[in-house]
């Protein structure tokens, strides 16, 4: 599948919501935990070798499951392959919890659900549709009940 790698690399250089050096392993046989610079930008998680400017890889964070594993550890797996886990070992339990929370909120799908929720609440409270001012109130993606996953 082709993709605009150049733009993705450019995205990896943007200011991150969250970045840290975390030990990480990929779901490959014999894979061990290695120290990586892990960077969350929009709905992508980039990971770099700590001394390199270009990421080794990127994970699109849609339809993924963030699981708190044992102490200091969390994993990312994807809906269609739940056994294949990317594991992350943090320095502290606190850091681990912060990353779990941040990653669970990092998907576009989550933002969409938030938007629908807030829109509905505001509408109930004020009788007014807050999306009208943006001219996007009619878009199918923002309708209540549009996205039942």
């Amino acid at each position: 599948m082709r993709y605009n790698e150049r733009e993705l690399l450019s995205l990896a250089r943007q200011p991150a919501e969250k970045a840290a050096e975390i030990r990480m392993s990929v779901p490959k046989k014999g894979s061990v935990l290695k120290k990586r610079l892990v960077k969350l930008v929009v709905n992508f998680l980039f990971y770099f070798r700590t001394d390199e400017a270009e990421p080794i890889g990127a994970l699109l964070l849609e339809h993924c499951k963030i699981t708190k594993e044992e102490e200091n550890v969390f994993s990312i797996s994807f809906i269609e392959e739940p056994e294949r886990k990317y594991c992350f070992e943090c320095a502290t339990e606190e850091q681990c919890q912060e990353w779990v929370e941040a990653l669970r909120r990092a998907s576009y799908e989550f933002l969409r659900r938030s938007l629908i929720f807030y829109r509905n609440e505001i509408q109930k409270m004020t009788g007014k549709d807050p999306l009208e001012q943006y001219g996007i109130s009619e878009e199918a993606r923002f309708q209540l009940g549009a996205h039942r996953l």
């Binding site: 993709y3 605009n4 995205l11 609440e121 505001i122 004020t126």
Partner: protein, 266 residues
């Protein structure tokens, strides 16, 4: 750079609803030949990702355009109904796409220019603020029975949907009254009375306690002592906090269910 391509392709083709779909002709970039040609592809927009397929029925996408940091503009191409996706990065290639007609072109330009994650996040943050303000105004209205303009929003008082809240506390299915003179109840537990029947309100969390007792921190009368205290204050309107909280409850219930399953049906 590696990408979790299998998962990305799965996301493209799974049945989560797309934000926009349709046929577009995509300009083919040729380096060695002169002249331009276009290929008709099936395009699917999901979030900030624009996928294109060789055919509508293709099982896997041919390609993906990540739509962060791009601009979408009408194109001065020789083709009618053409528009381009351009990136800030100088030297980056532009994607020139041609729609079937004026309406299709406008719909695509509109959809694509609002597709970025950044845009969504902006809108969500704005709505979050608005909800907070609406909550505060509501509280202010209830605290001052006169038609004062302290909130500056007279429509709250005249909005018939909101009147019942001031007159009587609403008793909800689980028997707990959530309305009182102070405070605003979090979204998710708001009054179902003026829900005009379009949607059912989300199920009420059993631990919701009345705002009046929130100061003391003790459960409202009627709350079973076995009920846990809500870790989230009643004023919470932040979706992600509510989301996490519901999630914890679900995780606990799921664990209990699984244990019951292991022990055999009770």
């Amino acid at each position: 750079m590696k990408l979790n391509e299998r998962s990305v392709a799965h996301y493209a083709t799974c049945d989560s609803p797309a934000d926009h779909t349709g046929f577009l002709r995509k300009r083919v970039e040729r380096h060695h030949h002169h002249g331009t040609s276009y290929q008709r592809r099936w395009f699917v927009l999901k979030g900030n990702l624009l996928f294109y397929f060789e055919e509508r029925e293709s099982r896997e996408p041919m390609g993906l355009v990540v739509l962060e940091g791009c601009t979408v503009e009408l194109c001065e191409a020789a083709e009618e109904f053409a528009f381009a996706i351009r990136f800030d990065d100088a030297g980056a290639r532009a994607y020139v796409l041609v729609a079937d007609g004026q309406a299709a072109m406008e719909a695509w330009v509109k959809a694509l220019s609002r597709a970025s994650f950044d845009y969504m996040r902006l809108v969500v943050r704005e709505l979050e603020k608005q909800l907070e303000e609406a909550c505060k105004s509501l509280a202010a209205c209830r605290n001052s029975p006169r038609r004062s303009s302290s909130s500056g929003r007279k429509r709250h008082l005249s909005n018939p949907a909101l009147q019942p809240l001031q007159e009587k506390p609403t008793t909800l299915e689980n028997g707990y009254s959530t309305w009182s003179s102070g405070g605003c109840v979090a979204g998710g537990a708001t009054c179902p009375d003026h829900d005009v029947g379009q949607t059912k309100p989300p199920p009420l969390p059993p631990r919701r306690r009345s705002a009046a007792s929130s100061a003391t921190g003790s459960p409202a009368p009627g709350l079973s002592p076995a009920m846990l205290e809500s870790p989230v204050p009643p004023e919470t309107i932040c979706f992600s906090k509510l989301h996490n909280w519901y999630g914890q409850e679900i995780a606990v219930l799921r664990r209990e269910w699984q244990e019951r399953q292991k022990r055999g049906h009770p």
